[in-house]
Each structure stands twice: as structure tokens, then as C-alpha cells.
Symmetry: C2
Subunit: 316 residues, 2 copies
């Protein structure tokens, strides 16, 4: 068996990519994940360009291991962000929420590996044609921004794997070694893990947000804001207000006005459980404990190996 293509591409020990998450994944979490053998990712989405640069520099002071920056391509100061990742010699960039044709060749010309996040086969093919090195295929169960087709990780992953030749990283609903093994059975060569790391010791999220997620059960998250940009979040007072707009067939403007600016910061970083946007994945229902990034990666990889040994012996 050849070496795993994701480990080769990123020069990492385990094919576990930490998701870039607003107000959650600064240099602290990214450093811990990279030190534990995964791919740590600084999420640029909630940072001013100068803040991002500071986070990159701090991470580089602590480790020489590979890491990535996640960049939502619709970011207002996108050109500054692109310049920073080039200047700072960031080895890997994960782009999302935008057109992969615009920046992929520029980044690759600077020897940066480029990964694009998609929620459909259609966009996976578009990203592959734009020349990205790998795809993150993210299912309906994932937290935060999500696709319109509502295709789940179980259904999406094998369809994307069949459609492209580059390696596919499955995302959405993966918080354990057995889910990781399941995704490898579907043809993925890596996994992107968000929710599990959002609820880690090194997460930048507010303790009230973390506790609310730890205590959440089945049905407590929902994919909402389908009339603007779909987001999965915990149901709370803000969600109730969104539901009222839904019931009133409100126009886009009303949603933009309700959401305003800083709702995610308020919820995730400041711990306002009522008025904040509590982005988190569905698998939060299965998570009952805060752990360190290292514990998470160690447990996932051990469980992965146990699981693949177990299913290899199934007898029927």
C-alpha cells in the first residue's frame, strides 16, 4: 500500500485536518493540532489581516511543522490576506466560499499547496479544474456555513471521490476514529474535523459556548438561514428570531439586518448564548467532554486502527 496521499501532500503524520473556524481556530489551536501530528489550521475568516499575520508569526515561533490558513474567498480584504500568506511562506492554504479560479494559480506559483472546500460534486469538479491539490467535501451535518443541496457526508464523499482524481478529505460529522474509518471506507484519504476541535482545551471559543455545545443533544443544531447563506448552529433565541423571519417570508434585507455584524463573535467568542450565532456541527450531540487537541488526535488514530482491524474480521 502506498503512503497516504494527504500525509504526503501536507508532510504530516496523520491525515487529520483541523477545520478553520471563526473565533475558534487561532494559532493556539492550530499549533496544538500540528504538534500532535495533524494539520493545524488558522481560520482567517474572523481576523483582520494584521491579526492573521500575528497568528501566523506566533505559530511559526512555536513549531516548524506544516500548518495551513483557511481563507473564505468572499473575505472583504482578500487581496491583503493573499499577500500575507505568500509573504509569511504559509505552506498550505484552504479556500472556501468562493471561486477557486481566482487565486489558485497565484498561490501555487508561490509553492503553496491549495485545498478547496466544496459541498457538491459540481463544485468539486470546478475546483479540480482550477488546479487545487485536494478537495474537502463537506456534508450537511457540518457546523457553520454549509451547502444548498443538503447532501450528507455519507452520500457526498463517494460521489466526489468518483468525480475527481485528486485526494478527497471528508468533512462533516467526524469526531471519532470510527467515523474517520467510515470516511476512508467511502474513499476519502483524509478527514477534516471541526466540532471536536472547537470543543478542545486549545479552542479560542468562550467557555459558555463550549459548555452549551457539550450539553447539546440530538436535534439541538439546525441548518438555518437557507434564504441567504445556509449555516448550521445551535437552536437559541437568535434562531427563534430567524424562524420568525422565515414565517413572515422576509426579504434578504431583513435577514442581513437581523444578523448584522458580529453575531458569530458574540456567540462563540463572547459567550452570548441568546443573541449570538452558535455555529457548531450536528456531531456535537455525541461529544460530552473537553479534551486537548493531542488527546483528540491520539484517540482518533488509535480508534481508527482498532476499527479497521475489527471490520476486517467481520464474518458472514
Amino acid at each position: 500500500m502506498d503512503k497516504n496521499r494527504i500525509c504526503e501532500l501536507f508532510k504530516i503524520k496523520y491525515p487529520i485536518v483541523q477545520a478553520g473556524m471563526v473565533w475558534v481556530s487561532g494559532q493556539k489551536l492550530a499549533t496544538a493540532v500540528s504538534l500532535a501530528g495533524g494539520l493545524g489550521v488558522i481560520g482567517a475568516g474572523s481576523m483582520h489581516p494584521e491579526t492573521l499575520q500575528l497568528h501566523i508569526q506566533k505559530l511559526k515561533q512555536k513549531t516548524n511543522l506544516p500548518f495551513a490558513v483557511n481563507i473564505p474567498l468572499l473575505y472583504p480584504e482578500i487581496d491583503k490576506i493573499i499577500e500575507i500568506v505568500i509573504t509569511e511562506n504559509v505552506p498550505i492554504v484552504i479556500t472556501s466560499a468562493g471561486n477557486p479560479n481566482i487565486y489558485t494559480s497565484k498561490l501555487k506559483a508561490h509553492d503553496i499547496k491549495v485545498v478547496h472546500v466544496v459541498s457538491s460534486v459540481k463544485f468539486a469538479i470546478k475546483a479540480a479544474n482550477a488546479g487545487v491539490d485536494a478537495i474537502v467535501a463537506e456534508g450537511f451535518e457540518a457546523g457553520g456555513h454549509n451547502g444548498r443541496d443538503e447532501t450528507t457526508t455519507l452520500v457526498l464523499t463517494p460521489m466526489v471521490v468518483s468525480a475527481v482524481n485528486i485526494p478527497v478529505i471528508a468533512a462533516g460529522g467526524i469526531a471519532s476514529g470510527n467515523a474517520m474509518a467510515a470516511c476512508f471506507a467511502l474513499g476519502a484519504e483524509g478527514v477534516q474535523v471541526g466540532t471536536r476541535f472547537a470543543l478542545s482545551k486549545e479552542s479560542s471559543a468562550h467557555i459558555s459556548y463550549i459548555n452549551a455545545c457539550i450539553n447539546a443533544g440530538e436535534g439541538d443544531t439546525i441548518l438555518t438561514l437557507k434564504n441567504t447563506t445556509p449555516v448550521r448552529m445551535l437552536k437559541n433565541e437568535l434562531y427563534n428570531q430567524i424562524s420568525i423571519l422565515d414565517q413572515n417570508n422576509a426579504d434578504k434585507e431583513a435577514y442581513l439586518q437581523l444578523m448584522g455584524k458580529g453575531r458569530a463573535k458574540k456567540g462563540i467568542f463572547e459567550g452570548d448564548l441568546k443573541e449570538g450565532e452558535l455555529e457548531i456541527g450536528q456531531v456535537t450531540a455525541a461529544i460530552n467532554q473537553v479534551k486537548t487537541a493531542k488527546e483528540i488526535i491520539d484517540e482518533m488514530t488509535v480508534e481508527f486502527k482498532k476499527t479497521v482491524s475489527y471490520i476486517h474480521t467481520i464474518n458472514f
Copy 2:
């Protein structure tokens, strides 16, 4: 490794259960699946009691192999149906959509194995406490009637496996051997397959419905009717009419009036693609060919074995 508990329980060769599907799974499909080594299931949901009895008798004329009857517990003539499965010595009953406490002990007193379909951990525990022999845990991606929590198969399966001691059959989004292997990695000991068999040569569905499903792509099914009983179906003219009720915040009565009686029959059995209720799972997007039940089971089991061998050799 012990023998697979689902194969032991049902006395079948492969732990593949065909889903009971209205207007799709009569004795023809059930017989073909049982003959191919899976568990064939006659769906009582769309049958008058005497029709069901006829289907059971026809199946028994063709094979002595185990089979099951799927009974939605909210069925109007439920007591007649229960008497028929007892009289006809049906070996296995799969119940859904209702309270497992009412009929489980009666069925078990007649030496019938009882399986209950759930979409949440809460109902899985309730069913286990009612004494059922196994659980079908059905995720958000499944076709037809569905749960309110929108938990996907990837997230639901391991939570149900952790919560009960009886074997768990994963359902929703499973149409291939690699998805089957994925579900076994999650702790399932069997899979229930609906959509793939709905689009088989032995399906009772109308050819127009089958072709519409075969041609459907990503995002072409949707979980709708959330205000009454959630159902996943192909988007069509009927779905557009449902959406208008949603937009108008219509009351339950308006939905019941729109859906009326016979919408599923019209769509699935009579092939009315505009006005019929075209129940089908999300994984229809990945299915491009009508096959026989035997081809489906043979391919799934061969692919399952290939997949578990492959992931056993993964090297990182």
C-alpha cells in the same frame, strides 16, 4: 470473530435488509432479495390486509427462506395486519411509525422476531426497552418518512450503537458496499437498503418513477412536509405546491387536504411525476442503472469485502 448477529438473528447469508417501501416492495422484490441472500421485506404500508396476505402466501410458495413484513404501526387496520402475520407464520416483523410497546410482546409470544425503525437515540432506547430484537437507525438522507431531528446516518449510527445492546441496522444513504463498510465501521451489524432496491428490476414502482430517480442528481431530493410528517421525495410540481403552503404558513388541515389520499400511489405506482409523491432517498443521485436484486446484493457484498481489505492496509 463471532458470526454476525444480524445474520444469526434472521438466519440469512448477508446482513442486508431490504427496506419496506410503499408501492415498491411487494412479494416480487422481497422474494428476489431473500433468494439472493439478503432479507426480503414485504411493505404492508400500501396494502389492504387481504392483499398483504396474498403477497405473503405467494412469497412462501416461491421460497422457504426467511423474509419480513414491514408494518407502519399507525396503519388504520393494524389489528388485522397483526393477525395476518401471526396466522401466516411470518418469521420477522419490522415495525415503524408508532409505539413499539403495543405489539412487540404479542408478536414475540408467537416466536416472531421484532425490529423497530427509529431516527433518534431516544426512540432507540424506548424500542430496546419494549423488547425488540434489533433496531433500524435511519438517517436524514433516507427516502420516505423521516425523523424530526435531521440526524444523518454518520452521526446517528454510532450514538444508537452506544445506547443499546441489541444489534443495530444502519439505514439512509446506503447503496453500495463501501457505504455498507462505512456503517460497519460505525458499529452497525447490518444495513437496510431502500433506494437501491426501489430502482431494481423487481421493484413494483412505475418505470417513469424509476427513470426519474435514475436521472436525478445532487440536490434533487428534499426533506419536506416538516409541519406534518417529514418525508424525503424528489422535487416536483407537488413539492412546489407544498412549498407554497409553507410560504403561507398554512395549517395542518391545508397540508392534509393537499396531500389527500393516494399521492404516493399516484407517483410511485402510477408514474405521475407531476402530481405524485415521489418518495426516494438522497443516494438516488449516485444511482445510474436499474439492476436485479441479485446483482445489487452480489455487488454490495463483493465491494464490502474489497473495501474492508483496502482500509485494513492504510498506512500512515
